[in-house]
């Protein structure tokens, strides 16, 4: 069965919309394979605008891994802006892929990567535009299997009505396993229909099929039990972990869009996982253990990627890039290699220590020296002990001052507000810190031409972290603390004018909190919001708190629950959490102990250097830390562009 391109019908509509280039595809390194040459067709969706979704590493990796298989093809699709969505409905054009403009409806699988829960309404919009029934139970064999992945998939319960499966953990290998299952089922003539396919998928390691698990609730609204409804599905679903990243050097051919995107650079992931143990950080908890790419593996990915893309900046990506065991040597040798080529290297969001300034100096040798970013996260030393991100005030000021003294003019500091046990005083210390940083920085650099930007957002407790039991701060609390912080920063104009404050109000965080720690009952709220016109919830101009609040009040009332129950309520030790049957490898008792340690301001070390503290991941998952140093070094390349 050949599938027709929707492009001829789409093209006349594109003349009438904003930024039409985002819908035409044709990116450098994009691939289009003949439909009939392969058994299994994947549509991969990033549920946000093209400019946000295109640079997403996860999607790019899976796109390449799948297209390398002779029996599969993968195409990409993104959230369509309302102007085009309206025209598509009017003219009967369905959700399409940007590669060959094939209708999403015709694919075997629709993989959706949820980096954040705020993409949920965009999934519903895409399903509706595609002509795929919103509810998984209403789909038949002709509809794509909707598979959720990404960090938010570690609690897919709020979207369990809408997805057929959720995949936990690294995607590189599991997409192959899923492809094998679908190919075999189609080859055999689709025995047992969609239910049999889902049953087979549920036996793939890392794949969770919500419909095979029943949830019952206690009188107080908490979950009484999550029970599997078939014997042949696992009682608990564990995450997937890719070991030896050098074996998976993806993306090899990063996509380069014509349209502007949020990351105008290519990225190389230098390691995966983090064991710093920051208690707020879901990514650091669910991606354990640390697996480093070797210095030579990174070197060849940077080289191949630059040749394939023509980008002038390379981001060395990970959760805490300065922690790579060979980072110093890597920075120096990469900078040597690209000397004189106007190629910039960058480390996104670094930890606060002086070594990072040295690194940043090295990395910016050949490219543009923009700003430096540090993430102390907590305003006071006390709160930094609570979140286990310990750095003294003196070290912080010294590090930032060193940056100014080294010619950096712009330093950005990331903080969170609304952390467990936080008081107004903890937040006000951010202002003191910023003032001190500017005073010391002016002195060290000999100029008043320096700036410090304080970027602060409300903390949202996430599943599979020690803070999963915590009461989220209310929007009022967040907004109050942001207001007193702003007043404190502006108290002395002579200093305050060198300090920028960037913040988001507390309301979107409350909704993110509802979706993060929600259970299956929250699905009704999501559906209601979408039906009332909600989508692009990550965009302040589209997000409507009122719409969410109304939908939550009305839909949750049937269960005797409300928004506060899901967000500002502290959970007790033995409460069944909606994601307890989904296994990130972390031992729940260890998480609870770490939560208690947080409250008593006790810190925990990093298992890479201080020994194992039994978080549970390695023994449960059969994995181990993979770090260097390897003792190898980068060979110089033949010079180009001299």
């Amino acid at each position: 069965m050949t599938v027709e391109s929707l492009y001829p019908r789409l093209e006349p509509l594109l003349a009438q919309v904003q930024k039409p280039i985002q819908y035409v595809g044709g990116e450098l390194n994009a691939q289009v394979k003949p439909w009939d040459d392969v058994a299994v067709h994947w549509a991969l969706m990033y549920p946000d605008a093209y400019e946000v979704g295109l640079p997403n590493q996860g999607l790019m990796i899976l796109y390449e891994v799948l297209n390398e298989r002779p029996d599969a093809l993968a195409e990409r699709t993104y959230a369509v802006w309302p102007d085009l969505a309206g025209l598509m409905r009017e003219h009967g054009v369905g959700q399409f892929t940007v590669d060959a403009h094939r209708p999403v409806r015709e694919f075997d699988l629709l993989g959706v990567s949820f980096a954040t829960e705020l993409g949920y309404t965009n999934l519903l919009e895409a399903l509706d535009l595609a002509g795929v029934p919103l509810h998984a139970v209403d789909r038949d064999e002709s509809h794509p299997v909707v598979v959720a992945g990404g960090h938010a998939a570690f609690n897919p319960e709020p979207v369990s009505d809408f997805v057929d499966c959720a995949v936990l953990g690294d995607g590189e290998q599991v997409v192959g396993d899923i492809t094998d299952v679908v190919a075999a089922w189609k080859e055999q003539g689709r025995p047992g229909g969609r239910v049999e396919l889902l049953a087979r998928l549920s036996r793939v390691d890392g794949v969770y099929v919500p419909r095979f698990y029943a949830v019952s609730y206690a009188a107080d609204g908490t979950i009484a039990e999550v029970r599997r409804t078939r014997d042949d599905v696992p009682a608990r679903v564990g995450k997937r972990t890719v070991m030896d990243l050098d074996e998976w050097p993806y993306p090899k051919q990063p996509l380069v869009p014509l349209a502007e995107s949020v990351h105008e650079r290519m990225s190389v992931e230098i390691f995966r996982g983090c064991t710093r143990g920051c208690r707020f950080c879901q990514a650091g908890m669910i991606t354990r253990p640390v697996r480093e790419r070797t210095i030579t593996g990174i070197g060849s990915m940077v080289d191949a990627g630059l040749k394939a893309t023509g980008y002038e900046e390379v981001g060395l990506l990970s959760l805490s890039s300065a922690d790579h065991s060979e980072i110093g040597q890597l920075a120096k040798e990469l900078a040597d290699r690209y000397e004189g080529t106007n190629t910039g290297l960058s480390l996104p969001s670094t930890r606060v220590d002086a070594f990072n300034v040295t690194l940043a100096n090295e990395l910016s040798r050949n490219g543009r020296r923009s700003g430096l970013t540090f993430a102390p996260e907590g305003g006071s030393e006390r709160i930094r002990r609570v979140i286990n991100k310990t750095v003294s005030k003196e070290d912080l000021v010294r590090t930032v001052t060193t940056a100014y003294a080294n010619g950096w003019r712009q330093v950005k500091l990331y903080f969170m507000c609304g952390l467990p046990t936080e008081t107004d005083e903890d937040v006000l210390e951010i202002a003191e810190l910023a003032v001190e940083v500017i005073r010391a920085g002016r002195e060290a650099s000999g100029t008043k031409d320096i700036r410090c930007t304080v970027s602060i957002g409300g903390f949202v407790p996430k599943p599979h972290t020690p803070f999963q039991w915590a009461a989220q701060a209310s929007a009022e609390t967040i907004d109050h603390r942001l207001r007193i912080l702003r007043e404190a920063i502006n108290a002395d104009r002579r200093i305050g004018r060198s300090i920028g404050l960037r913040y988001h109000d507390g309301k979107p965080g409350v909704i993110e909190g509802l979706l993060s720690r929600g259970d299956r009952r929250v699905g009704r709220v999501i559906e209601r919001v979408w039906r009332d016109g909600g989508h692009f919830d990550g965009w302040s101009e589209h997000f409507s708190y009122d719409r969410w609040q109304t939908a939550a009040a009305e839909e949750l009332a049937a269960f005797g629950l409300d928004l506060a129950w899901y967000t500002t309520r502290e959970r007790t030790e033995h409460e069944v959490l909606p994601w307890d049957h989904l296994d990130s490898g972390l031992d729940k008792e260890w998480l609870w102990d770490d939560w208690q340690d947080a409250i008593s301001e006790d810190e925990v070390g990093d298992c890479r250097w201080t020994g194992c503290y039994d978080c549970g991941v390695c023994p449960t998952m059969g994995t181990d830390i993979q770090i260097g140093p390897t003792g190898r070094s980068l060979l110089p390349l033949t010079p180009v562009n001299r």
């Binding site: 280039i21 044709g26 014509l258 502007e260 105008e264 630059l306 040749k307 562009n641």
Partner: protein, 255 residues
């Protein structure tokens, strides 16, 4: 205290090349900024030895000019680059063309000759071809005659500072109608004034004076861009450079 980067200043420009390229097919939806990004990245992939500006934010020496509007195709877009090492223009053309996505095709590359005037000065008019599927050719001809008979036709144009009335008539040097494969085609020669009169402005003018409303979106292609010659057509803007570089050494330049 002015800061300067460590190390020697970047190598100077030793050669200027002028290039003509297209935007075809779906890439007509690319904006001038999208094209600039694509060209800069392709220059890096093709390892063209670009000259860079000095300072902490070095930029490659590229000048873009007269970009066709988003949504219109073009056979005649131009830009100029400065190189830090001399290269054969034809080799640069081929390497750059191979590095660009299909639809952005580099058709010509010539060396700029000093003292021959700037390329931007030679781009003062465009020949447009506008395909109007579903429009009756006779009706179109009548509308064009009505339009040409007017001295001034004001159309509302959206600008950065709100809506502004622009005279769509004054910029139009000539307008003719033909038919190809059953589709009515409007051929225009338009002066590039400020503010620019674009194909959609002329279509708005036809709607205003003759109530012409195409049932399907018009498809415009910039077929040529250059100096308006005496015959009312558009001259090849790279002509002077081509002539200059092909003449014998010591021969005086023609103007």
């Amino acid at each position: 205290m002015a800061r300067t980067p460590d190390g020697p200043p970047p190598p100077p420009t030793v050669q200027k090349l002028r290039l003509r390229y297209t935007k075809r097919g779906p890439l007509r939806f690319a904006s001038h900024r999208d094209l600039a990004r694509a060209l800069e990245r392709a220059l890096r992939r093709a390892q063209v030895p670009m000259a860079f500006s000095a300072g902490f934010s070095p930029h490659p020496k590229i000048s873009y000019m007269g970009a066709a509007p988003t949504g219109t195709a073009s056979e005649a877009e131009y830009f100029e680059i400065g190189l830090s090492a001399r290269r054969d223009p034809e080799q640069v053309r081929a390497a750059l063309d191979a590095s660009l996505p299909p639809g952005i095709d580099v058709l010509e590359c010539v060396e700029a000759v000093e003292g021959n005037g700037s390329l931007a000065d030679r781009l003062d008019a465009t020949r447009w071809r506008i395909d109007l599927p579903g429009v009756d050719a006779d009706e179109l001809s009548a509308a064009v005659q009505t339009f040409l008979a007017h001295e001034v036709v004001l159309v509302a144009k959206r600008t950065k500072n709100g809506t502004k009335d622009v005279d769509a008539r004054a910029a139009v040097v000539s307008a003719a109608v033909s038919v190809e494969a059953g589709c009515a085609i409007l051929l225009l020669v338009v002066r590039q004034l400020t503010p620019t009169v674009r194909p959609d402005d002329v279509m708005a003018a036809l709607a205003a004076v003759a109530d012409l409303h195409p049932p399907l979106p018009a498809r415009a292609v910039r077929e040529a861009q250059g100096r308006l010659d005496d015959s009312g057509d558009v001259a090849d803007p790279l002509g002077p450079d081509r002539v200059a570089s092909s003449r014998c050494q010591g021969e005086p330049a023609q103007v």
